[in-house]
Symmetry: C2
Subunit: 546 residues, 2 copies
């Protein structure tokens, strides 16, 4: 199997561990915890895993631990560093007792249910150290939420004499990890479940979890590309580049990339929602910046757009809601009409406000919303190419202003969407170290008999030596939220906080960035070289921890 020069050299990288995890470990337990909200309900749903203390690891004395076998699962979308969590876990369990075994369930949580697994051995894992991707054991989106899945999993757990399952995933996967932990605890099966915080989206974080792994590497990769595009933009001086960034629910990725690259415009979904902005208002803001720059002779620029934007625009949300109801009720008498009649039909049946919103949409998007529906009959918002939608609407607005003599520039757009380009990049030094420490922590939580915990590593803006590792009860991060019409206990998703430091830092600079050209070109992730270049955490993390 051929591997690249970088892979060869990078394989030798030894991730740095916090001091407390470098040798034998003992645990220090804090006071009992409670959930962030809905304490009574969460407590009732998780009688066996509620209220446990926070845990911190400190240096301890070597003592032989009993033999343990662990099963590990990668859940959900890829994030750089997953292989290093598994490496940290592997090295730590083998160090605890060389007879310990680590099993990897294949292609996500489904592997547990379907009994698909491999044993992870030293030879096998060495090929994956410090590499990106989840291809070591694969990942998948099967949700572990039903008792028959839990019982089916137990069969293979028993067969392999596994005492703990480590689930590496995002907020939903960790919520499910906790449900599984509670179930196995209630049944007294003696099987522990530990979670690890993964997501490039950055939306799994809170007072206990400083950041999720993968966010660092993914945002640095996207920022490399955005910086390259900015430099091209500033050299050719003839295009507006509309760059959509992966991440459906929160705008952390867009915000971090903006802090790194200083584009002319960056939209933050959470702000647009909070201000109840219309799509037209969003477009007008962009068009104003374009027009202002044109007055200075600068008919070029860069706009960052979070993937989930459309769903955060309240007026669009209301329109989609009504369209879903309308098409569900009248789909039949509507679908045989011709194109123009369909449009008329929709406009005449929508409420006045939603009809007005519908009318502002470019024809292609309007048709997408009124025609393409998913198997549940819902409008498929994810099919909308937001970056093209916005640039088309900006172009239309500018054309109108040109007619009115208010605009006199040229406007040509290029479109980009970055997602798959960063989810499997080789982890930065930060993510390589952070993930390895998370895996090591997970092993120690298992060795100490814990269940329903997530592995955590804190103080991550300090030197690795000074990072603090431990565990947090997953119930502590939960509240009740409506999901598919039902109230469910879930880990609260972290959206961009408009009074948080990262957003405020961005908001204080953005007018300058819009008017002037203050691009910053971060360049590609460096694994060797000056620490200033190789070992910096994200701007978001630094600002949040300041």
């Amino acid at each position: 199997m051929e591997i690249s020069a970088l892979q060869k050299e990078r394989a030798a990288y030894q991730p740095k561990l916090p001091k407390a995890l470098q040798g034998a470990v003992k645990i220090v337990e804090g006071a009992p915890t409670k959930s962030v909200d809905n304490q009574e309900e969460i407590k009732k749903l998780f009688p066996n895993t509620y209220g446990m203390p926070l845990i911190e690891f400190v240096p301890g004395e070597e003592n032989n631990t009993k033999r343990i076998n662990i099963g590990v699962i990668l859940s959900g979308g890829q994030a750089p560093g997953g292989h290093n969590v598994i490496s940290g876990l592997f090295d730590a369990v083998k160090k605890l007792n060389s007879e310990n075994r680590l099993y990897g369930f294949l292609m996500g949580p489904g592997g547990l249910v379907d009994h698909k697994y491999i044993e992870i051995t030293a030879d096998f894992i060495d090929k994956y150290r410090n590499t990106g991707g989840f291809d070591m054991i694969g990942s998948g989106r099967t949700k572990l939420e039903k008792e028959d899945q839990f019982e089916k999993g137990l069969e293979i757990i028993r067969k392999l004499d596994i005492s703990a399952i480590v689930i590496i995933g995002g907020d939903d996967s960790n919520t499910n990890a906790c449900v599984l932990a509670e179930y196995y605890a209630a049944k007294k099966y003696g099987v522990q479940v530990i979670g690890c915080p993964k997501t490039i989206d950055g939306d799994l974080k809170n007072d206990q979890i400083e950041t999720s792994f993968g966010f660092d590497t993914a945002t640095k990769t996207y920022s490399e590309l955005i910086g390259n595009i900015e430099r091209d933009c500033n050299s050719a001086r003839k295009y507006w580049h509309f760059v959509k960034l992966m991440g459906r629910s929160a705008s952390h990725i867009a915000l971090e990339c903006a802090l790194q690259t200083q584009p002319n415009i960056c939209l933050i979904s959470e702000e647009i929602e909070a201000k109840d902005m219309t799509l037209n208002a969003v477009v007008e803001n962009i068009a104003k910046a374009v027009a202002h720059r044109a007055e200075q002779g600068n008919n070029f620029g860069v706009v960052l757009i979070p993937e989930g934007l459309i769903e955060f625009i309240p007026a669009i949300g209301r329109l989609i809601q009504e369209l879903n109801d309308l098409l569900a009720a009248h789909g039949a008498d509507y679908k045989d009409l011709d194109k123009d009649a369909q449009r008329e039909y929709i406009l005449s049946h929508l409420s006045k406000e939603n009809a007005a919103t519908f009318e502002t949409l470019p024809e292609g998007v309007a048709r997408q919303l009124s025609l393409d529906r998913d198997p549940h009959g819902n409008v498929q918002v994810s099919l909308i190419e937001t970056e093209k939608l916005l640039s088309e609407m900006v172009a239309a607005k500018l054309a109108k202003w040109a007619k009115e003599g208010k605009y006199n520039g040229t406007f040509a757009a290029q479109h980009h969407f970055f997602g798959y380009e960063g989810r499997c990049a080789a982890p930065s030094n930060f993510d390589a170290d952070y993930c390895y420490a998370l895996g090591t922590s997970a092993a120690q939580l298992v060795a100490n008999g814990k269940t329903g915990y997530m592995a955590i590593v804190k103080n991550t803006t300090a030197k690795t030596d000074e990072w603090r590792a431990g565990g947090v009860p997953i119930t502590m991060m939960m509240n009740m939220e409506k999901r598919n019409g039902e109230m469910k206990p879930v880990i609260r998703k972290a959206l961009v906080e408009l009074d948080g430091k990262p957003f405020k830092t961005f908001a204080a600079k953005r007018d300058e960035w819009a008017m002037n050209t203050e691009y910053v070109y971060p360049g590609p992730i460096q694994y060797w070289g000056p620490a200033e270049v190789c070992d910096q955490p994200t701007k978001t993390l630094v600002l949040e921890q300041e």
Copy 2:
């Protein structure tokens, strides 16, 4: 002005020079040269710049040279390393005589004609050393081909007491540099013109020019992204990724990226043309690979597509030709027909062969070809999203095979287009050194009174020390070709050679890559670290020079 940590540290990089360029230089002249073809015609068109000898620089003795002022121009699309050509030029001319001046004409060749320029000073240039982009002085696509442009340029050349113009550009720009050199020589204006080989496309190379600058960095950047996508593809195991790569005329970029990343499929336009393949045959080949992988349970893969593909498919070329003629002649009676009638009209008016080709096209593409035309009335091939066209046609083919019981997999596609992501990346060590050496060579060609030459650096797969620098008469690389209906003297464009080592190496492996999953993940360009990672030239260059 804020700059990134990488920029700060990278600014200190001192590009390595070939031994011959490290100190004082003297020139060794070879035998007279002749053009690669059409010698009589080229000689007649370039009486003053034809037949000059190849030049090589060797270490010489320090001697004071006369004062010279030089003007430099960036021409055409961005390529990583342009700023280093100018840095090399600047350092060399200042070393020759600290009174020498370097002027940069702004926004491309138009800056010379319109007298827009700046003086490049030590303070100014330091900010741009080892950076990507052409933003130092901007670039543009104005073609220098008319006498009034040459005369207008002369005015500012005289005013600034400039004795030589250095034009950094691709094949067309260097052809024009030669025409300008010949004109100034014929008029005995005493103004020298020197070219530098730039293009990420890799199509400006020949026996004298081993590679054009920018190709190294751009292909490494694209390969980083393709590798990341491959790793995602191999982790999620559910998508076929169709990746289009910039470069209209030659497939060097796609070929180099394939050699670096070993995708399942890489299309090479030159091969498709040589084999007179139809679009349907291209699609069928891809679909066969998809079906074969599906049989092994692998419903995923990566396909690389050169941007210019469509125009290389002979059947499509013939169709477009006839459509252009047909729509020009009958556009009027056709344009008011409705959609279906338009299609009928076209099908009934095309020749049998072209009608058959037209019928195989997806509706959207067929409409694009028959409706959207440029101001000259021509079909706009560049609007066709080849990556989507191919994946749609593959999906249709697979659906047909599924009905016939010949295919039983799932097929879902993702699309990418990489171009702007790599044109302005910070130059790799190779491009940083190569460009600096080219700039230094250009200065020495000027100092030695040469005109109509292009700066060259050879032996570039050896250590930098052993690189050989010199100059090649531009006329030596010329032949006569038809451009816009007229025979013109031009530098022969280098397409992928089907009997060359890079293609043959690829062709020998591609079946294995298609059937198995042998992805290689090159990772991001590294500027520090092991030489194996940081200082390797492209695979294309290594194979060609073996």
